[in-house]
C-alpha cells in the first residue's frame, strides 16, 4: 500500500489524487502522526498547481459542483477527510458521471454525510457564536469548531454587522477572521489579548437573566436541548458557561 501525505492544502489534495488514483492500493492523508504498518510506502506530496487543475477540470466535466463539495469536505475535522474525498473522486471517475445523489453507494453516502456535518456546523455557528465587546468597541468571538469554517462565517457576519469591527477567532486552529467595516481577511493568530468593555458584564448578565426567565420550568426537556445544542459548544456561551 502506498500512502500519500499532503500538506493539508486543497492543491496538495488534488495533486495527491493525480498521483494516486491509478494505483490499485493508495491512500491519502494530511495527518503526519499516522500509524504506518510495515508494508507501507510513504510519499510526501508537493502541491502542484498544474496537476491540481487537471484533476479539478476532469471532475467538473462530470459534475460541476464536485470541486466545491470536495472543498467543503476538506474542511472537516474528520481525520479521514482526504480518504473520504478520494473515494468519492474515484467513484466519479469510475462511473464517469455525476454520482452526487446516488446515496446507495457507500462512498457517496459517507461523503455526503461528512459534507453535511461541515455545513450544519457552519449554520449552527451563525447562531451559537458569541461576541464580547472590547473596550475600543471591537467585537471579539472566540470559538473552537469541529471543522475549519471561519471563512464560511465571515460573509454572513460582515453583512450583518456591517458597521462594526469584529474578529472571529478559531482558538483550536489558531486562525482568525478579521473585519474592518470594509473587507475581511483570514489570518493566523496565536493568543489574543482582549480588554473587555465596561458594559460587557451588564449585558451578559442581562442575557443570562433572560435565558433563565424564558425557560418554562414546568416542562423540562434537557435531552432535546442537548441534541440541538451539543455540550461541547457551551464553554463559549455566556448563558451556559457557569452553571
Amino acid at each position: 500500500m502506498k500512502i500519500f501525505i499532503t500538506d493539508g492544502s486543497c492543491d496538495g489534495f488534488f495533486t495527491a489524487v493525480f498521483d494516486a488514483y491509478r494505483l490499485p492500493d493508495a491512500a491519502i492523508t494530511s495527518d503526519n502522526r499516522i500509524q504506518l504498518s510495515f508494508d507501507c510506502e510513504v510519499e510526501r506530496v508537493n502541491a502542484d498547481g498544474a496537476k491540481s487543475e487537471r484533476v479539478k477540470r476532469g471532475l467538473s466535466k462530470y459534475d460541476r459542483s464536485a470541486v466545491a463539495d470536495i472543498l467543503l469536505v476538506l474542511r472537516s475535522g474528520n481525520g479521514d477527510k482526504e480518504q473520504i474525498a478520494f473515494e468519492y473522486v474515484k467513484t466519479i471517475f469510475d462511473k464517469k458521471t455525476c454520482v452526487k445523489k446516488a446515496f446507495n453507494i457507500p462512498s457517496v453516502e459517507i461523503f455526503r454525510e461528512t459534507r453535511d456535518k461541515v455545513t450544519l456546523e457552519a449554520h449552527r455557528m451563525k447562531g451559537f457564536l458569541r461576541f464580547t465587546e472590547c473596550a475600543d468597541g471591537m467585537l471579539y468571538a472566540p470559538y473552537s469548531p469541529d471543522n475549519d469554517i471561519t471563512d464560511m462565517l465571515m460573509p454572513h457576519f460582515a453583512a450583518r454587522l456591517k458597521n462594526q469591527i469584529f474578529v472571529i477567532h478559531d482558538v483550536k486552529r489558531k486562525t482568525a477572521g478579521i473585519y474592518n467595516r470594509q473587507r475581511w481577511i483570514i489570518g493566523r493568530v496565536g493568543e489574543a489579548k482582549i480588554y473587555i468593555s465596561e458594559q460587557e458584564k451588564t449585558f451578559s448578565e442581562l442575557w443570562k437573566k433572560y435565558y433563565d426567565s424564558v425557560n418554562i420550568g414546568e416542562r423540562p426537556h434537557e435531552k432535546q436541548m442537548r441534541g440541538y445544542m451539543p455540550a461541547r459548544y457551551w464553554k463559549f456561551l455566556p448563558e451556559k458557561k457557569d452553571g
Binding site: 468571538a141 449585558f203 442581562l206 437573566k209 445544542m229
Partner: protein, 416 residues
C-alpha cells in the same frame, strides 16, 4: 439601562407565546446593524428544549383585560413592569451585536386603550429601525381592537405580525377571553392578508410583512376536539395564508372555576403538530387525518394511524411510487422520500440500498416493496404491535414539540 428585575417580569410574562421563529424574511442591511436570514437561525436552547431566536418580551404586563387563563389579567396580583421604547431598542441592539439573538419579538398587554398600546408598539419599532438603524428581524404582536390604520403602519416596518386567536372556538373565546371578540382577531388578520396580497400583485419593492402572519391557540383549556382544532388550522392556512399555526398546551398557572385544574399533555400537542405537518408538507387534507368530533390517537402518529386505516393502499413499490405516495409511507420523512427519488434515478433500489442510505425502515418495511420484494409482516396485528412499540418509544422521547420547520429539519426530527 434596563433593570434586571423588569426584564425578568416581562420575559416571564411573554414566555408562553410559543412562536420564536425568525424565518421567512430576507431583509437587507442598509448600512446599519442587522439583516434577516430567510431560513431562520436558533441562537440558543433552553432546558425545556425550546429554541431562542428572538428577544421575546412584553413592553408592558399591565393589562385592562381579563383573560381567564392569563397571569397578567387585570385582577391578578402579580408584579407589573413596563419598558420605554428606548429601553427596548437598547436591549435589542446590545443583544444583537453580541449575536445572542436574531431580532425582537415584541408584544404587550393592553396597558392603555388598544389604540394607545398599539401606537406605543409602533413607536418602538419605528425608533428601532430609524434611530437605531436596525435591520434585523422583528415580529410584532397585534393588539385586538386597535384601528386598522395603526396596524397597517406597523406592517410596513416589521417582518412578521401575529394576532393570536387564543382559543379554538368562538364560544370558548367568549367564556375565557371576554374582551377579545372573534372579529377583533380575525378582521385585522384579513386586512393584513389583503394588504400583503395587494402589494405582491403590484410588485412594489417595499414589502409588507415579508415573513407573513402567524397565530397561536391554547390547547386543552377548553373542550374542543383535535378534529375541530385541525379543521380550524387548515382553514387558517387556506383562507388567511398564515405561515404557521402554533399550539400551546394549557398549563394551569391560574386557578379558576372556568378552567381545568390539570394541564394538557405534551403528547397531545405533539400529535397536533404532527398532523399540522402532514397538512402543510405532506399533502394531506384534514378530513383524511381526523373526523371533526374525534381526537388524534395517542398511540400512533397521525400518519401511521391513517395508513392503518388504509391498508388496501399498501405496500407501494419504492422504485415506482411517486414522491407524493412515498411521503405517505409511515416512517419515511420528507428527507428520506427525497433521497429515494434521487437515488433511484441511478439504479433500482434494494432493501439493503435503503438501509445504506440510512432510511429508517422499522416502520416503513411493512408498507413498501423493493424490486417487488416485501420485507414486512402480512399480519395486521403484528404490524399494529410493531407500530405501537414505536409509538411508546416516541412518547418517552417527545421530540420536536416546539420546533419550527428550520430546527426540525436541521435535527431531522419532526419527520414522520
Amino acid at each position: 439601562m434596563v433593570d434586571e428585575n423588569k426584564l425578568k417580569i416581562l420575559t416571564e410574562a411573554a414566555k408562553y407565546d410559543v412562536s420564536c421563529s425568525s424565518s421567512g424574511s430576507r431583509r437587507k442591511n442598509e448600512g446599519g446593524l442587522g439583516n434577516a436570514y430567510s431560513g431562520g437561525i436558533c441562537h440558543s436552547f433552553t432546558p425545556d428544549g425550546r429554541c431562542i431566536s428572538l428577544l421575546k418580551i412584553l413592553m408592558s404586563n399591565e393589562c385592562l383585560y381579563e383573560c381567564e387563563y392569563c397571569p397578567n389579567r387585570r385582577s391578578a396580583n402579580t408584579p407589573r413592569a413596563k419598558l420605554t421604547p428606548d429601553e427596548i431598542c437598547e436591549l435589542t441592539i446590545s443583544f444583537y451585536k453580541r449575536n445572542y439573538i436574531e431580532g425582537l419579538f415584541l408584544s404587550s398587554a393592553v396597558c392603555d386603550s388598544p389604540n394607545r398600546t398599539m401606537e406605543l408598539l409602533v413607536e418602538t419599532v419605528t425608533k428601532l429601525r430609524r434611530d437605531y438603524n436596525f435591520h434585523g428581524y422583528i415580529h410584532l404582536k397585534g393588539i385586538p381592537h386597535a384601528d386598522e390604520e395603526i396596524v397597517m403602519k406597523a406592517a410596513k416596518i416589521v417582518d412578521r405580525m401575529s394576532y393570536n386567536i387564543e382559543l379554538p372556538s368562538e364560544k370558548s373565546l367568549k367564556l375565557l377571553a371576554p374582551q377579545k371578540t372573534k372579529q377583533s382577531l380575525i378582521e385585522p388578520m384579513k386586512s393584513l392578508k389583503n394588504a400583503i396580497e395587494y402589494e405582491r400583485s403590484e410588485k412594489s419593492s417595499r414589502r409588507i410583512l415579508p415573513a407573513g402572519q402567524t397565530t397561536q391557540m391554547i390547547i386543552g383549556a377548553s373542550p374542543e376536539s383535535d378534529g375541530q382544532i385541525l379543521k380550524l388550522t387548515q382553514a387558517l392556512y387556506r383562507n388567511m395564508n398564515l405561515k404557521r399555526v402554533y399550539y400551546s398546551s394549557y398549563i394551569p398557572v391560574v386557578k379558576s372555576e372556568k378552567l381545568p385544574s390539570v394541564g394538557a399533555g405534551l403528547l397531545r400537542e405533539h400529535r397536533l403538530y404532527q398532523a399540522d405537518w402532514l397538512i402543510r408538507f405532506y399533502g394531506f387534507d384534514v378530513e383524511e387525518i381526523c373526523d371533526e368530533s374525534e381526537n388524534l390517537s395517542p398511540d400512533y402518529d397521525p400518519k401511521c394511524a391513517w395508513a392503518l386505516r388504509n391498508m388496501q393502499l399498501f405496500p407501494v413499490e419504492i422504485n415506482k411510487a411517486p414522491l407524493a405516495v412515498l411521503l405517505r409511507v409511515p416512517g419515511i420523512g420528507a428527507k428520506s422520500a427525497y433521497k429515494i427519488c434521487e437515488a433511484r434515478k441511478y439504479s433500482e433500489l434494494s432493501f439493503d440500498d435503503l438501509s445504506r442510505m440510512r432510511v429508517v425502515l422499522k416502520r416503513a418495511r411493512h408498507f413498501i416493496t423493493c424490486k417487488g420484494k416485501f420485507y414486512g409482516s402480512d399480519n395486521a396485528i403484528q404490524i399494529k404491535r410493531a407500530l405501537l412499540l414505536e409509538g411508546i418509544n416516541e412518547k418517552a422521547e417527545q421530540l420536536s414539540m416546539f420546533s419550527d420547520r428550520a430546527t426540525a429539519i436541521s435535527a431531522l426530527t419532526g419527520e414522520i
